[in-house]
């Protein structure tokens, strides 16, 4: 049940036909993992917190640096040197003190992944390298939960929603790793893609609309193009080829 404060706080979105009180209660019960609280993770976390997602687990092992501040809007100048999860958790708690924020200082690795994704309904990709994304993708397969993928560089972005057993997974789209590198990026790009990832998560949780499944959104901010491309399962995919179909 939603209390009076929650009914008031979320009035405008409860008025949205596809959400209503029932959808708001689903959001309240939802548990999400945001993997990384940098450029993508900041807007994802803000919007899911504002929307009233009941439990938000944020994972990152980095500290805030001056060079982060052009895009990682959960962190402010005063936060330089602070752990990113603590910095973000303090902002999110001030934005919405009725939800649970779980900050975890952890490297996402093969040994930590099962602990990080335990008791989670949806995984949101906000990492800065493909190797970690593949770990999250595999964990989503193992747990049979959605994995919302986003990535950015410069003015460009990508987005897709992966439903294990139903859609292509990350391994079907990307066929090899790429070296970890410092990616050039303007802050508005992760803002766009992060907001779209949060949109997908909210839609999944409340059961509204159509998810961006079996499709890859290609965003080009320089020419302001949103292109949808079809993706397909790779029968030899190292992650999902043996996953049972739904």
């Amino acid at each position: 049940m939603l209390n009076n404060e929650e009914l008031q706080r979320y009035t405008r979105q409860i008025m949205v036909r596809e959400i209503g009180e029932a959808g708001q209660e689903k959001l309240k019960k939802a548990r999400v993992l945001i993997a990384g609280v940098g450029g993508l993770g900041s807007p994802i976390a803000y919007y899911l917190a504002a929307a009233g997602v009941g439990k938000i687990r944020i994972v990152d092992n980095d500290k805030v640096e001056l060079t982060n501040l052009n895009r990682q809007i959960a962190h402010w100048t005063q936060d330089i040197g602070r752990l990113k999860v603590e910095s973000a958790a303090s902002k999110l708690s001030q934005l919405n003190d009725t939800i649970a924020i779980e900050p975890l200082v952890e490297t996402i690795s093969e040994s930590s992944i099962s602990q990080l994704t335990a008791d989670i309904d949806v995984i949101l990709d906000a990492t800065d390298n493909l190797a970690t994304r593949f770990l999250l993708n595999k964990s989503a397969m193992d747990l049979d939960i959605p994995f919302i993928h986003g990535a950015v560089a410069g003015f460009e972005g990508r987005l897709t929603t992966i439903i294990p057993g139903k859609t292509p997974c990350l391994g079907c789209i990307y066929h090899g790793d790429i070296p970890k590198q410092k990616t050039p990026v303007i802050g508005v790009t992760p803002a766009v893609i992060g907001a779209l990832e949060a949109t997908e998560a909210i839609k999944y949780i409340v059961g509204a609309g159509q998810l961006l499944t079996n499709q890859l959104l290609v965003y080009d901010g320089l020419r302001m193009r949103f292109t949808i491309l079809g993706i397909k399962k790779d029968p030899n995919c190292r992650f999902c080829a043996t996953h049972p179909e739904k």
């Binding site: 940098g38 950015v152 790429i178 590198q181 290609v218 491309l229």
Partner: protein, 90 residues
Amino acid sequence: MSVKFIMPVFLQPVAEEKEFVEVEGNTVGECLAAIIKKYPAMKKMLMDGKGKLHNYVGVYVNGQDAYPNEMQKAVKTGDEVHILYTLAGG
């Protein structure tokens, strides 16, 4: 008439800042060879020394993923081919 290749932002600087390039060819590989002939700097950005596409380059013909054997994929006049780079930033 020709096949239209939509270039990723990363390749546009070596393609005279063009968003797309139109070339003749019966397969993706033939068309890419024509593009590389016009813009030689693009070769290393697309493929290795043996002419195999880098694993971070994706090819989509008429909006559909052409993997695997993208280079052999048949194309015809009026087709659109998107070349994509894998992005890793977050």
